[in-house]
Every structure is written in C-alpha cells, then in structure tokens.
Symmetry: C3
Subunit: 470 residues, 3 copies
C-alpha cells in the first residue's frame, strides 16, 4: 500500500496499523542501514525551517541521505521570507514544483496544513507552533515499543510544559489511540490546553479524571498529578470505579516518564515574569528513586535545559539519546513510505477501533475567525489574502467549532441560517447560539457570528430570543 | 559547442542562438528528468547568497541535484564575510578552487562580474543588486516561448517596479534582442533607469516612444503606459508612423503582462515614505477583463505581495507558478552547458542581427569613479583595494562612460589627453567635455575628470575653452 | 593503520609520521581527484559551525563531496542552540548518532574536545576560539612541504596576531615538532600567549630567545622580531651561541612568512580602542624587497584585510590561494583516514623524537577552575552542569596546571593533600603552593585552592607555612 501524495500533518493522518507498519520498516532500516542507500536515489527533499532547529532538521536530512536522496534546505528563513511578505501557500507551490517531498517547521499553528494543501507533493510537519510534531511522536512511540514490545495498556506520564509543547500534544493523541493510560504532570500554569483535553474524551473515547476527583489514597501514593486519561481498552469496571482500579494499576509503576522542557520561546512576556522557570518540576536521581519509577523509561524529546539532571544520563532507564538516534530509521521509513519507495503491509489486528470522526465543515468568508490570534496561520496578515476561516462543527451543545488549521475552539455567540424564509430581508434573523435554533438549522446552512453588530452588518435582525435577553 | 569557463553575468553573455539552444536543452531535460541524473556526477556547485533568497537558490540547487551533482552552499553570508572585511575577489578565488561552478547573489551591482573575473570557473549571476538577474529572464523567456512558440513580434508589458527590479532589466534587454515590442507600465517614480532606456535604443536598434508622444486615440484605448519600445524587426513604416500602426497592433492584445513587486529592500528611507506602496498598480480580475488582456499570459518572477491578487491564481492565463517550475529545467540546461556536460547546437537562423558593440575601454587609477555610490561593487571600501574604475566609452557627444560593473553612466565634465605636446608640463591642458576636443583626443589617450580641482591636482591646466566659461 | 574513532582536536593528536602520511595521501587525492568519488559513498559528515565561516566550512564540505559522501550542515547556530540552552555534550551525542564524522567550529576554547569526548564518532576541530585550528595547519604545512620538499630546518616567520590567531598556535606546535626554526613578529600587544610559549620549550625541547636577548648585529639586520624559537634539531653549538649562528642562518633568508589578520572579533572593547588596527604590521611589495625575503613563501590562512597588500597577489612568492586550494585534498585525506576509508602507511624515519608527555591529571569537583573565563568551554553556564574542571600538572615548581580543554595555565596559591593523617579534621592542613609540600604530596592526592577561604570552606586549616606569611 503506497501513500501517493499523502502528507503527515497531524499524528492522526496515520492509522494505528500504518504506525505499526512504519515501526517494522524502521526496524528493517536500522538492521541494514547501508542497503537503503539506493532507495530514494534521484529524489529531492526540501527542508524548510522557519524556526531554529538543529536536531530535527539534521535528523530528517540524515534520513534522506541514508536513503541516497538529495536535500535542498532553507534554514531560519523566518525573517527572510516574511520580510518580502510572501505567503506560505506561494512558497509551498513553488518549492513543491522543485522537490519530491517537503519537510516544514513553522512557528504558526496550522502552517504545515497550508503547505500540504498547496504543495502538490507529500509534506511532513516537523513542528507547527504549539500545535503538533508528529514525527517526534513516532520516535517516542517507536522507542517505547522497542523497549516494552507494546504501547497498549502502558502507563505513560507526561511531564512539564504540556501547554506549549507540541510534542506532548501529538503524543497524547497517539497514546490515547494506541490504548495507553496517560498521567499528566504539568508545570504550574502549563496544563494541557482545553481543546486537547476535550479531543481526548470526545474523539478517542477514554475517560479523563481530574486530580481533585481522585481518591485520597491514590493522591497520597502518587507523584503530583493534574489529571489521568484512562484508555477505553481497559476493563469495564475501571470506568465505573476508576479510583480503586487505578490504585491497583499504579502499583505496577509508571512505564515511561516523558519529560519536556519549558518552551520559553512561546511564552508571553507576562508568563516569563511569573517564575515558571523556577517552579518547573525537575527529574533527577532522587525522584527516580521512588518506587513507581523503578522500571520507568525516562524520555525527553530534547533539547533539555534544567528539567532533567545530567546525573540521570548514566542510568540505564534513560532513553533520550536512544530516542534521538531512533529518529533516523523512523524518518527513513516515513520518507520512503510517503515517496512510494517502500510499500508497507499493515497488520490487520493492529487497526484501532477508533475511527476519525467526520465532522461537518463550516467555511464562510465572514463571521467568526479563529480565536488563536497571531499563532494560527489563518489569522496572519499574509495568509488572510487567500485563506478563509474554516472549522469543524464538533458539537452542537454548546455550539463548538474547531479551527481546521490550529484545532483551537470557538464558541460563537450568535447564529443564523443562510436559507431564510422567502429570501427576503425581513426573514433574515439571527439567534443566540445557546437557543434551540442551533439544533434546528441544518449545518450546511449555518452562519455564525461573534457579535450582534457583525450579524447586523450582514443584514440580519435579532430574533425574538435575542431581543428578550436585552 | 561547449562553453569552457564562460560565465553568465548579464543576459547579453548569451547569444540569441544560445538562448534558443538552451530552451531545446531544457525541453530535453524536463521530458526525461530522471535520465539527467548522471550528467554532473562528481561536479560541485557553490551557491553563494549574500542576500536572502529561498526560491532562486533552491531552484539552482534542485537543478544541480537533478543533474546528479553536489552543492556547497553559503546562505545569507552578507554580515559574516563583510564583518571580517574580506573582498569579493578573494572569496571568488578561494571558492573557485573548491567548486566547479559558482552561483552568486549579491546586493552590490557588478559583484557577479568580479566573481567571474577572479573565480577561474564558470559563474552564474543569480542577481546583483538592481543590475541583472539573467537566469530569471531565461525562465521568463522560456515560459513565453513554450506558451506562444515565439518571442519575436510579441507585445510584452512590464508592470510595476521597473527601477529597482533587476529581473525587468535583464528581461528588457533580452526581449529587445529577440524582437519583441515592450510596453512599460511603471509604478509612480519607478520608471526604468535612463541608462537602461538608452541601451535599448543605442544597442538594440529599436525605437522608444514616450507616452506623452503617443496619439490621443492610442492613449485612450490603452492601460496607462510610460513608454513603448518598438523592435526594429517591425516593418519600416512603423518607425515612420508608429502611432497608427501601434494602434493596429495593440488591437490584437498584449501577449504577456509581466508583473513585479515593489523592491522595498532597495528603496531609500525617503522613497519609503512617499507612499509608493499605496500607489503601486495592482493586477486583478477586473483589470484582466479588459479586452487587450483577453489572451494575455500573466507572469510574475515571485515573490508577490499585493500587486497580483490571489483571485488570478485559478485563471488559466496565470503563468507564474509554471514560470517558477520551469526554472529547474532551464537552470539544469544552463549548468550542464557551462560545465561542458552537454553540448548544444545553435540553430543558424535564430542568430540575432544585433551584435554586441565593442566600445573602447576607459581605465585609469584616477579621475572619475562610478557615480552609483554604495550600490556599485567598484565603489565599495573592501573592493577599491584592487578594483580600478573601468568604463566603456559609449558615446562622444555628449561624452558618456558606462561603468563596466553596474552599467550606470557617467557624464564627465572635463577631459585631457595623456599624449600632451612635448611631454612638458606646459602642454598638459584640460578641456570641457562638451568642447570639440572630445572628438579630437584619441580614446586610448583620453583622461576624464569630474572637477577642475581634480584635473589640476594631476598637473593639468585649464585650456582656453575652459577658461572662457569662467 | 586505520584510525577508528580517533579525532583531531589539536595538531598534537597526529604524530609526525601520520602528518607525513596524510601529505602523501593528499598528493594521491589531488593527482586523481575524480577517482576518489566512491571512497566515502554512503557516509555522512556533519558540519557544525557555531561561528561564521565560509571558507573552512566549504572546504570541508567540498572534500566530503569529492569523496562521494553526504553532508548535513548547521551554520551560524550560535544563537539558535544557545537560546534553547542546550549543552555541547548533548548536541554532540545526538549528532553523533546521526553522522559518521563531525566537523565542529565553536567560539569556546576546548569545545571541540567536548564534542570529541561525547560524540562517539571521529571529530575534527575546525577552530575552537583562540585555541587551535589543526586542519588549517595541515594545509599550511602541506603547502610548505610541496614548495620546499621539507619542513625540518626551515626558518618560518609568524606575522601579526599571534595572540588570538588559533591558526598560529596550531602551526607553532607543529613547526616545532617538525624541526623548524620560528621567528615571531607580532603586532603590538598581540604576542603569543605565555602558555603557548612555555609549551614550546617544555614540550618540544627547543630554545626560545627573546628579542632583547639578541645580539645587536642581528637586531640590525633583521625585520623587527619579538622572539625566536630554535629547534633542537639544529646543531649543538647553536644552543650555546645562538646569536652568531642565527646570524649565519638568517643570511640564507626566511623560508616562509606566515601573515595573519587581526582577529577583531576576539578583541575586548578596550583592545579595540587601542589602535591595534592602525599599528598592525603590513606585508607589501616594499617589505618583500628586503633580502631576507628574496625567496620567501608568502602565506596567509585568509581572509585577509589590510595586512597583506593586493599588489603581492601577482608575485610568484605568494602562496595563499594555493594554500586555500590545497585545503581540499588535505581534508579529503584526513576525512578518508578518520573514516577508515583509506589506510595510511607511516614512513618510519619520519617519526619525531618528540613524544607526547604524559602529565598527571588533576580533576576535582571543587577547588580551582579554569582562569580563561568566558572563553574556555569548562567555564560556560550550560557546560558546568556536567564538566568538572580538569588539568594536567605540567610543573611542580612553580606549581602549574594546564586546563585540558583550552590549555590555559593556572598557578594555584594553596595546596593540600586528600590523604591527610588519620583522616581527622585536625590533620586537614593546607599549604602555600610555593612551599616544599608541593613536591611532597603525591599528585594523585593533590588538592589545589585559589584562595584561603576556599580551602577553609572545604574543612582545611592553614599549615604553619601559610600562617607564617600573614
């Protein structure tokens, strides 16, 4: 099964079976590294890094060279292209006419999707703002798999900056899909964003238990947590009395501790002042002496700063340099797969029971735009020239739209229908989003507004329900 | 016919026949892209970009990789090398001893010529300040040729920043030589420089008609123009009554509209304040509805900013992404040609009747230097250590010297002869440049001065003609 | 003899015989450049430049491409990685798991050693601060060898910035080892550092004569000098009456004049103001007319600024562009050798009589640290997390410790023994470093302190000898 012109923008672009198949391919690659050299001969990979990165870029470029391919590379081009005012779409089209595959890192969330939409060749997201970093997740999962033979049923703790760390977002989704239990240990003020948490429960079907809801006995025996995600593959009883079974489960220890650094480059000036650095939790020998970490894989996407002590390096539990090294075969596998240089066979049993939900799409020239200002690609001055805001309607009650680019959520305040009665101005009414109209209007006719003035600017008048509230 | 150690600094370094032959070679390249992979095996291209660029550089590097060659690349090195105070000539010599071919982009006009003079290997100019960008022109011409089968007799409109846009300078020369009629539509204050206009008429033999000289009927039926260049390949009558025949000609429409962005990075602080951006002409659907653009190829060297609306992208007349894509085969052809990896056969009939004029050269340690201060390579502090000002004497009346580096013109005020009578100080006289002496002094003996004090500093005394004017 | 996992951090990492063998290999490489293309096929070189450099980096990358290998490259990454706060050791480990060989340039002295310690693959130092630049030295020596057939017995003058110029440090050591006489002509305030001078006499066995100690007759007949290093391979008499024989020797002229630019980027703000630039000695035609330079090879590692006039370029004695060109075959030879792609045979007679001295090592968590603050890698905030200060005890009288990273020297003021009597606190005494205790305490027990307060902080009390001095 080849993947002609498929891209990897979010980790959900790969099925569970494909992920397993890529792991087998990566094994093959690392077992006979020198034999892969002809695989992508004559192919060109464009490596476009709009944000500083050494590790990830060199890992991709190494992978392409090990496959015998060529690399064209544009590094730290942020200032350059932005200065000339070019859009990402134009850049994608042009580079897509040069190269056979594109790797893109960009500070704007959703940028990789735009590149994939316009390039005409396979695109790999090497990190888009705080959104996703799916190939890092592949390295992470591959490492866990190599060390523990499975991911299903494992207990994985995510540690540190869960808010801005894109690697943890991609990893969270993948772990949930692959059936792991996830323990969240954020630094203060660095909790997983709401939209990520919601996606966990609505999309992947598991259960999320907040720390304060946990039984006191568990709290006492546990390192400080924020929340636990329990995979639906666990026994039924669990959902009914999570605390008890969790207690039982945790006795067997944490399988992996995934440490991340504070993403200082994404903090606002205000956040920087709040002493996040000082209060950031540190993983060191002392912590790892706790019994729940006895056989824990200590992982880190690197670079590390102070959150992971050097004294851990010599510990056999430390996995981070192995993780980095495994980035090469896994990226080789992915590139070969996306370029159609290698076919993969998907083990049937490994397919997930979780299917991607097909939400209805909301796309209008006017009305709401993504609230993730300055970070979402769809809100950038150079990009609004051709990008229309686009959302998935993930819930009707309360009305929730998820930006297709950055996956942040909007809760619009007012709604209307594009199919108004008689087509006369008189029948153009807008309603409160929390009224019964939200369910009545067909999604293909739905129009949403952020404010009354905006609705009125488009010729709509308040319905009875809106007027009553004044 | 191989081109051992020939360089492409200006578009005039290639004959019409060679340009045609490169187009055939580019066709061959794009028809069987994968078969070119061994062509430059073992060869190294150095890609030296002293100015930000992603597109052009990646296009060249892609071309070299598609030919199976290797690339060494130095990007955005402006600050780096300048900080160490190294000259371009030194850099050229060193890199020329590493690589088999050099691609250079530099903000200084004439820099590519210096590199070509010193490198000892073929050099390709990938843009030198506002001077030239000949490979962009090859992409442009190649696109026109592919879409219209010929260039001779076509009507091409150049749109936007004709002052600083080096792509339009190279294109103007090439179109004139290849027999096209050119319509100039500059943004306000962004007219083609005088020396470029003059070269058009003196070198390529056509006629230039200013807008104000056009017949009212034409003016009315036409989009706003600045001037028209009429190729000498047109019928004789044309030259005699251009307005009438032009009117007839334009009815058949404009063949290509070549849009360029405002080169904000080359504007002076003063120019930036003058609202050039706001008054810059925009090409959009509405404009393209005009009947003269009915079958126009809409072209752009990219990146675009606001001068070319995104709504045009889906229009079948839009050619800009094709232009960019065609940069790869045309650059492959050029590199293979310059490296002697491919011989080309020149169709005899395609040779131009226009021959390069062999102007006498003026080169002295003292006297005038290039007036294009800060932009011309010959005026830079690091380069004056080894570069002597050098000019072509393109006209005697008025005396006009053209800098061999940046092609800007000087009109010296005073002249003298190095072969003065008896060789005594008494007979060392200087004269006004507009006196009859200018024609009398043999060009090999000519000395020119910008000021009387300079002439006198070199031991010359004013002649009668100079004294009279006081 | 293959060099599996050997690195080239300082020029002393290669024996004289290996240097000679590399020259033969470089000859082979340049004689049949095209036949080397398969030699490193499938191998990857990482080129990590934390300081701006075009020449050296491109030379290495050219060498690897000419050997058929691939290159991954991170340029001007100073800001990038430092911003994220990553240590050099982490970077080295990660890149070492991607690439087969690493080339590193870094502003911190000793950085290349750290990379070599952690990478797990061969590492080549392409310049670490003002410390060393051994491959430049290989180019330099190779050029002298090609032009003069030998290095032994030649008289080489080093000219310019001997203080910060890392190329002169590496070259000085190598020339001494290979038996050349060295004449030092520094710019004012730019003398060779003390620790480099000391290493010359203690390690390489020659004699150093300061200018002021020279006979007046020599002074008169010589260009201004700072000092002369006389190789021990010279006749015995020389050491006894150096002035006379030197006079005789110098009559035969200087064999090579090695010019270097002022390393302005390493000057302190204060030094920049002191007019070093204005007083910097210049090599031009006039100087080269002196009889001692009649057959001198004029060398320069480039880039040059004003210290070497362009008028010398056309002179047959000028060697600098040849030096640069020869960087490619010599680096090809080195890479092929370190990767084990080529075995070398060492001519027995060429082995030096100078052997690397095995000094005892001093390594403690506390006590002295390297005095070369801000420049030595061991004093950097990101690196002290895992680097312990480490020294070689190169002398007991006066007690002299040489930092293993940057080779700067420390002269500690106080010492103690880790094997104190009875192990009781009472017997923990510290002594003056210039007391007889320094020779009494076994080096494996030695503890050194910079200050009394530090010694006391570690539980030591002043011995009688210390107390007396108060």
């Amino acid at each position: 099964m080849a993947m002609t012109n498929r891209s990897l923008v979010t980790v959900d672009d790969l099925s569970n079976g494909e992920i397993e198949a890529l792991f087998s391919l990566a094994d093959e690659m690392s077992d006979s590294m020198n034999e892969q050299f002809g695989l992508c001969h004559g192919k060109i990979m464009a490596s476009l890094f709009f944000e500083p990165s050494t590790r990830t870029r060199l890992s991709f470029e190494t992978a392409m060279h090990r496959l015998g391919g060529s690399v064209i590379s544009a590094v730290d081009i942020g200032a350059t292209s932005l200065a000339k005012g070019e859009s990402i779409a134009d850049m994608a089209r042009v580079v897509g006419s040069y190269a056979d595959i594109i790797v893109i890192r960009h500070p704007w969330e959703g940028a990789a999707k735009v590149v994939a939409d316009y390039a005409g060749v396979p695109v790999i997201n090497a990190g888009d703002g705080s959104h996703e970093h799916p190939t890092q997740t592949l390295c992470d999962l591959y490492t866990i798999k190599k060390e523990r033979q499975t991911i299903k049923g494992l207990k994985i703790a995510l540690w540190g900056d869960l808010k801005y760390g894109r690697t943890t977002h991609s990893l969270t989704y993948a772990l949930a899909r692959l059936g792991a239990t996830i323990l969240f240990r954020p630094g203060p003020g660095l909790e997983l964003p709401e939209h990520v948490l919601r996606k966990l429960t609505t999309e992947y079907g598991g259960e999320l238990i907040r720390y304060e809801a946990l039984d006191q006995a568990i709290k006492g025996g546990l390192f400080p947590l924020d929340a636990i995600y329990i995979t639906p593959s666990s026994p039924h009883q669990l959902a009914m009395m999570p605390d008890v079974s969790l207690q039982v489960e945790l006795k067997t220890g944490v399988d992996a501790l995934y440490v991340t650094r504070l993403q200082t480059e994404r903090l606002s000036a205000k956040a920087k002042k709040q002493g996040l650095k000082e209060q950031y939790p540190v993983v060191d020998k002392k912590l790892l002496r706790k019994k729940e970490f006895k056989r824990t894989l200590v992982m880190h996407p690197l670079p590390r700063i102070d959150e992971l002590a050097y004294e851990v390096d010599a510990d056999p539990r430390s996995m981070y340099f192995k993780q980095a090294a495994r980035g090469v075969p896994i990226r080789m596998a992915l590139i070969a797969f996306l370029l159609g240089a290698k076919e993969i066979s998907i083990p049937r049993e490994s397919e997930s029971f979780i299917r991607k939900t097909d939400y209805p799409v909301y796309r209008r020239d006017f009305g709401v735009s993504c609230p993730n200002r300055d970070r979402c690609v769809s809100t950038q001055e150079t990009e609004t020239k051709y990008i229309k805001p686009e959302f998935k309607i993930v819930s009707n009650q309360p009305l929730t739209l998820r930006c297709v680019y950055c996956e942040h959520e909007v809760h619009p305040r007012y709604i209307a229908s594009s199919e108004w009665h008689d087509g006369t101005l008189d029948s153009k009414k807008y309603h409160s989003a929390d009224s019964h109209w939200t369910r009545k209007i067909k999604t293909e006719n739905l129009i949403v507004f952020d404010s009354e003035s905006e609705a009125e600017a488009h010729g709509f008048k308040p319905s009875h329900y809106v007027r009553v509230r004044h």
